[in-house]
Symmetry: C2
Subunit: 416 residues, 2 copies
């Protein structure tokens, strides 16, 4: 394509927070601000909902130094949403509204930063615009701590979440194994269908201070085997540290967490209900089989927004993905998602490539079974080799008064 399309650029953030979603937005925004053919740079308030609500922020009015802090600021600076568009053959109301807003602001470049649902949104919008002869370059930017997008070596957001999980597992290991009086600590980590995040706990084990046992949703979970496994560690070491994915299922596909609803009434000496989620349930179940002090810990929200322990590899790659999206769009590409391809050789390096949105939409990539040990309770070296490069380097998040200095944007709503 020889002539660059001229018009405004719009970026939206979608789905759950990560530590680096704003680094991607910044990469895209800074490249857009420097590009002659782009007349305006907008950010959608709460993703596609901001388009439907005619609520776009004018990013050209932001202070560049404050914008630059987005690189280290977790969660979506522009706001996010979980909004699934209907099939436009069934109901095109939202699509017509999107077309109106795009026309109103002359949006010719649209970037959507999210997971597989967001790539589906991207793909549908692009198809509708094409059918209505509205010229617009649509590029997806990957983002998910779950690391489950197809067609890419890994996803921006995963490295930082994995670094947080591995770091925290090492610290909890030091805490949980310190009394020497016999204990079972179960850590519950996010990931309903894919075990990438839970697997990251094995990076701590690789450093000699991590879970003794790691259970991923890729392998059917069996309660009897679990008790056998922890008994073995308990008898050998006294203290047991276990990491489980929230999404563990048995061989019939039943979530293990649903086994325990009738146990939930039990309370400890302090009046706390013992059962939180799966971690608490499994810990309590273990206590009925072994004379150990038990404890369940849910990593919760913090694992997806702990920017203070972000991976600089992840941050830089996230920025690069946003920049590459803008460059690809200006070069005339559309209906693509930016993806990472690992270069061969002993030194880690990932390059960006473009893949078709439709390849990514609604597909989930899981941890390869050959990276999991035969007993289904630990990770093998190929996983370590895969994941370790992704957590390298420390964030340069600036501090003020000993606390993070996150971006604080003006977010002035555009009018037209």
């Amino acid at each position: 394509m020889t002539t660059k399309l001229r018009g405004a650029c719009l970026i939206g953030q979608s789905g759950g927070p990560t530590s680096v979603i704003n680094a991607s937005a910044l990469g895209c925004i800074e490249a857009a601000l420097a590009e002659d053919c782009i007349t305006k740079v907008y950010g959608a308030a709460h993703g596609i909902k901001g388009v439907l609500d005619d609520r776009l922020y004018d990013m050209t009015l932001e202070d560049p130094a404050e914008l630059a802090l987005m690189k280290y600021t977790p969660s979506s600076v522009l706001g996010t949403c979980r909004y699934k568009l209907a099939d436009f053959l069934v109901d095109d109301t939202d699509y017509r509204r999107i077309l109106d807003i795009f026309t109103k602001y002359d949006v010719r470049y649209f970037f959507y930063n999210g997971g597989n649902d967001s790539m589906d949104t991207c793909s549908k919008i692009s198809s509708f615009l094409q059918l209505n002869n509205y010229e617009c370059q649509v590029i997806g930017i990957p983002k998910t701590i779950d690391n489950d997008l197809a067609g890419t070596d890994h996803c921006p957001g995963y490295g930082s979440a994995a670094k947080y999980i591995a770091t925290t597992c090492m610290e909890i290991y030091r805490d949980a194994k310190v009394y020497g009086t016999g204990s079972i600590t179960v850590l519950e980590i996010m990931g309903r269908n894919a075990g990438w995040l839970t697997a990251a706990s094995a990076l701590a084990t690789h450093k000699g201070m991590g879970p003794d046992l790691v259970y991923l949703p890729e392998v059917p979970f069996d309660l009897a085997d679990f008790i056998t496994d922890i008994t073995k560690v308990y008898e050998a070491e006294g203290d047991v540290l276990v990491a489980v994915s929230e999404g563990l299922k048995d061989k019939n596909g039943t979530y293990i967490s649903t086994y325990f609803s009738d146990l939930a009434k039990d309370t400890d000496a302090f009046g706390h209900a013992r059962m939180g989620g799966l971690a608490g349930s499994l810990a309590h179940f273990a206590s009925t089989k072994l004379p150990a002090k038990v404890r369940g810990i849910e990593f919760g929200l913090i694992q997806r927004c702990a920017a203070h322990v972000g991976s600089s590899t992840d941050i830089e790659e996230a920025y690069l993905a946003g920049k590459a999206a803008l460059e690809a769009a200006v070069q005339g590409f559309t209906d693509k998602m930016v993806a990472f391809k690992r270069a061969p050789g002993p030194v880690y390096k990932c390059n960006t490539i473009l893949i078709d949105l439709i390849e990514v939409a609604n597909v989930e990539k899981k941890v390869p079974l050959e990276w999991i040990n035969a007993a289904g309770n630990g990770l093998l070296q190929p996983f370590i080799d895969y994941a370790l490069p992704l957590i390298q380097g420390e964030t340069e998040l600036p501090k003020e008064d000993g606390l993070p200095r996150f971006a604080s944007l003006k977010k002035i709503v555009a009018t037209k």
Copy 2:
């Protein structure tokens, strides 16, 4: 005292982990290794239990470079215990054993690093030794994330835990307020009787990204007032972030957590029991009054061992406290605890002082009521002025493969 007492030195670690308990041990051990009158330096395996078990580690056999990493390593490197000695007038079995072991290893300097229970242990051992004409200098080194020791401006361990809590509150604030669809997030923070840790969440509020409401155990908690408070924020802002201390009680002294034991059976769509601890209970209760998405998050163990976000002020002061303990003992002081006294003036500076063990044993210092607002749901500027200096500076914890490089000691058991 003109002649320095000659003999071995023994240090023990006791009670719950902190990020900096090993920094104090290191301060004491390094000063002891450099002191002529100290013939041997021992570490007790699992605190006083290691003495009773005749299990002392010979610290002179450790590699100094590895020892130095203790400064940044969380939880007790030597192991810890929760062991309360009987009154020796009732049962002196343990005391006679301690005297035997001290005699066997010629222990003339004993340091115990812990909270108010540990200071009680220290004080009792010292009295028994004196009654039996065994010359030994006994000094306590303060340690507790709870910050509830009397006679000291603050306790080593609190600054790092406070920094973790404030940092994480800022990150969760960014996560919890990102959908804009109306939500109530309740954070449960440690502290059964004193609200220092929960109050630390107000440091995040001070930076504009923290809990809207903070409830400490110092103020009787009222469920109806709580609902009024959150409704006000919900109506004004849509998303509500609340921090509560695990130890909240009503005006009759009943733990609020005990109100909810019958709700614990309720499960969410994923089969998770909704009720974890107090956070989950209060969040669920709020959902019966307001049409909001609710979420309870327990900070759990991580808040006491998150060395990766340690405060360098706390780390250096913890080291200093250990060093000051050794120096005081060698100078002939006994039955004392090292404490901090804040120097007057606008620039923060704390000096070490010595206070009587008996002043500290079994006393709990709480957050002054005049630092809490009239509504009992927030902290005032005097608390910020008190706490902010304690979280300043970043840890120099070394990294290896992108993960913490914690100390790994040989811990060779001494024989005699």
